[in-house]
């Protein structure tokens, strides 16, 4: 064990790690009606938050290891636990504990309203443990401790998503999240095994030194890199493994705020950020492909999701995909700053969604109305909820003066640098990546505007009756998150990421163009969102109007017909005889044409058709049906025989496992003896 240079920031980092754990422990003593343990819980959590801010404000600009404990030492293997400072992600410690504290305060009212107050000890204990897991991960000096925090969070997310055991969707969603995360965890363990095998340690600093000396074999590093990508895809809900996140909204809403904003999904991005130096830039491009698919998929799903929380969940999927896309283009600062901005506005949006849904729960829904439609305009009935929604949605769509605007600028700036280095060797793949990186902010603005029109628009015609009641105490809490959504989060200057550099967009011509382009994309997204949603609304529920239009059209048609008839009456008496003669000639000519040419042609066509049909029938009975029958017969024969293999008897399976293993060992022994 070595403690070196434990200054103020080191002690406060230690406190911000340990106090949430202490709070989790105190929940054992929390009784449903008791107050002492409950107050102490918030004292510890608040203390942890203050310590985290002190740590962040005093933190040095270089990476340091404060405490290093040896956890396991064997020949060739040395695993460490401890406390380390990573300069790039130090502010996440403060952000996580602040958002955690805000959600915990909010949860008090939420649990009371949803009638779960009797289980609050379990709930708050898991929330504190969740935060502890994230801090363990953030302050990890080694990959091994990173994995410990990763696992604590996986467990807590399972427990919290399935918190309400009576609900229908909660427990299955929890299991689903757990299963998806297992895939990533297995991959993570594989990566750690590879790193231990080739380096003997999981210490970040030691790994970096070894990597700089080029002492690590590149092939195994790429394999480990693949493991990290799979692990972070499961944790951050990337394309093939994204299914758990939209379902996870079945849990309590404050928990969604925690999972989507401060903890859990952030871990995947952080893992890739930590491991990026060890990866080959050629392979990192392929992460971009996965991330771009996720970004597009999430955005498109968010555009058509039917529930408020579903829109938010898909938006998280899309935003995470965009962050990883930027990260894969080398935009480390861009993606991290977007991560910080995203944490604040997404937590805020989920807290507001919780307010709205608990208020909507007290209203009576009209029949046959889609979920998001009948409660439209509900956010506009209270001015404070309206303002909260507008601020968070502006930040989500990346409007000027918001934090997401700055992080988006920085990300696009770094995307541009990447483009400039790859300009000579553009392929369709890199072009697609660039297009998606530009398209996603537009789609984000699009579904933000859709959400505004559907949920928050104070002037929309309402389908529900009565005035929804928003809890007053819960309504105040999300305001704490508002400063984090403004440009103050990232810089004092509303137009530039850092004051010293001056506006990013003023440095060169293409960047100014990019700046205008990004504002333009947001504007286009807003317009598209506004028009598509209003049109969708006007066609979906106003059946009376369309009836009116139909009757109007009918009356116009009948008038037109009457006018035509009367015009024909005027011409009738003139030269009737000559006209009939000519008409008779014409008709006999037409008759000849009909019988001799058209009829014959039709007959020929019919005969050809009969021949073709007969051939087709033969093919059908003997080739297509025969093939199907063959398959069916084979399946019919094979099915019962193979069904016996799956007997459901435990020991039968074991016997087979033993037999296969013995066969394998026998083969191995034969090979080795030769």
């Amino acid at each position: 064990m070595s403690i070196s240079g434990m200054g103020l920031e080191a002690w406060s980092a230690l406190l911000s790690l340990l106090l949430p754990f202490l709070a989790a422990v105190f929940c054992i003593f929390m009784r449903p009606g008791g107050r002492v343990a409950f107050s102490l819980y918030f004292l510890w959590l608040g203390g942890g938050c203050v310590a985290a801010w002190i740590y962040f404000l005093c933190a040095p600009l270089t990476d340091q290891v404060y405490i290093r404990l040896s956890w396991l030492q064997m020949p060739g293997v040395h695993l460490h636990l401890g406390l380390a400072h990573t300069a790039a992600t130090a502010c996440l410690v403060a952000i996580v504990s602040s958002i955690g504290l805000v959600t915990a305060f909010y949860s008090v009212g939420y649990l009371y309203q949803t009638g779960h107050a009797t289980h609050r000890a379990r709930y708050f204990g898991h929330v504190a443990l969740f935060l502890f897991g994230m801090q363990v991960l953030l302050l990890a000096p080694s990959l091994f401790q990173f994995f410990l925090g990763w696992e604590i969070m996986g467990l807590c997310s399972y427990l919290l998503i399935g918190f309400s055991r009576e609900s229908q969707d909660g427990p299955p969603a929890a299991s689903k999240a757990f299963m998806y995360n297992r895939v990533g965890d297995a991959s993570f363990v594989g990566g750690i095994c590879i790193v231990v095998a080739i380096a003997g340690t999981t210490d970040f600093q030691a790994l970096q030194t070894l990597h700089q000396e080029q002492a690590l074999p590149t092939f195994w590093l790429s394999v480990a890199g693949f493991c990290w990508v799979v692990a972070s895809a499961a944790k951050s809900a990337q394309f093939p493994l994204h299914g758990w996140l939209p379902d996870a909204m079945a849990g309590p809403t404050p928990v969604s705020a925690l999972i989507h904003a401060a903890t859990m999904v952030v871990a995947g991005v952080l893992l890739l950020h930590r491991m990026l130096p060890f990866m080959d830039m050629e392979h990192v491009q392929w992460i971009g492909g996965m991330a771009a698919a996720t970004a597009l998929l999430g955005a498109v799903q968010a555009l058509q999701a039917a529930k408020l929380k579903q829109v938010l969940a898909w938006s998280t999927v899309s935003q995470l995909g965009w962050m990883l896309l930027i990260l894969s283009m080398g935009g480390v600062e861009g993606s991290l700053s977007h991560l910080y901005a995203h944490a604040f506005f997404k937590a805020g949006l989920f807290l507001v969604a919780g307010l709205i849904l608990s208020a909507a729960g007290q209203l009576v829904a009209p029949k046959d109305a889609p979920y998001i439609h009948w409660m439209r305009g509900i956010g506009g009935t209270s001015s404070s909820v309206l303002w909260l929604g507008v601020v968070f949605l502006l930040s989500l769509s990346g409007a000027p003066l918001s934090a997401a605007f700055l992080s988006k600028e920085l990300s696009l700036h770094q995307m541009m640098l990447w483009w400039q280095t790859h300009q000579t060797q553009m392929t369709w793949f890199t072009t697609t990546l660039l297009t998606v990186a530009l398209l996603t902010p537009m789609l984000t603005a699009w579904y933000s505007m859709r959400l505004f029109v559907l949920v928050f628009n104070p002037y929309s015609s309402r389908l529900f009756s009565g005035k929804p009641a928003f809890s007053r105490s819960m309504r105040i809490i999300p305001f704490v998150l508002v400063p984090g959504c403004t440009f103050l989060l990232l810089s004092w200057n509303p137009l530039a990421y850092q004051d010293s550099r001056g506006p990013v967009w003023a440095q060169s011509d293409p960047e100014a163009a990019l700046f205008l382009l990004s504002i333009g994309l947001v504007g286009v997204g807003w317009l598209a969102g506004y028009f598509t949603t209003t049109v969708q609304l006007s066609t979906s529920d106003d059946t009376q109007e369309s009836d009116f239009i139909r009757s109007l059209r009918l009356s116009l048609l009948s008038k037109l017909l009457r006018v035509l008839n009367s015009a024909a009456d005027v011409f009738r008496p003139f030269q009737a005889e000559r006209l009939t003669m000519k008409l008779a000639h014409l008709i006999s000519g037409i008759q000849y044409f009909e019988t001799h040419i058209v009829d014959r042609f039709v007959l020929l066509l019919a005969q050809a058709k009969v021949i073709v049909a007969q051939v087709a029938q033969w093919l059908d009975t003997f080739v297509a049906d025969g093939l199907l029958k063959l398959i069916a017969n084979v399946v019919y024969q094979v099915g019962p025989n193979t069904a016996e293999v799956q007997s459901g008897k435990l020991q039968g399976y074991l016997l087979r496992v033993v037999a296969v293993l013995m066969l394998g060992f026998a083969t191995l022994a034969l090979i080795l003896l030769k």
Partner: protein, 108 residues
């Protein structure tokens, strides 16, 4: 492997034989018994056989870490058996049986 072994390393052969026999007995118990608790005993026998190997190879090949791993296995086995017994109790309470061939509720 056996062919390349030097004469002074062959001392452990009887222990290897005992360990192999123990392992096979364990496998046989696990596969054939109708009592889940007895199956657990079989698993313990297999673990003991593996431990014996670690200790047997300790002087020549593994050094001090052989005994260390054996200790590790002991601790993990204790934890595992505690969990397994708890699971079995739970299964017995719900199904009223401890016969593994009757635990086939997942089968359609």
């Amino acid at each position: 492997m056996l062919v390349t072994m030097k004469p002074e390393e062959m001392i452990n052969q009887p222990i290897l034989l005992i360990s192999g026999t123990l392992f096979i007995i364990g496998v046989a118990i696990v596969i054939s018994r109708r009592q889940a608790v007895v199956m657990l005993m079989g698993i313990e026998l297999m673990l003991a056989a593996a431990n014996l190997q670690f200790v047997a190879f300790q002087p020549q090949r593994l050094g001090a870490s052989g005994g260390l791993v054996a200790l590790f296995v002991l601790v993990v086995a204790a934890a595992e058996i505690a969990l397994a017994l708890a699971v079995l109790l739970g299964v017995y309470r719900t199904l009223q049986t401890s016969d593994p061939s009757e635990m086939n509720q997942l089968k359609a």
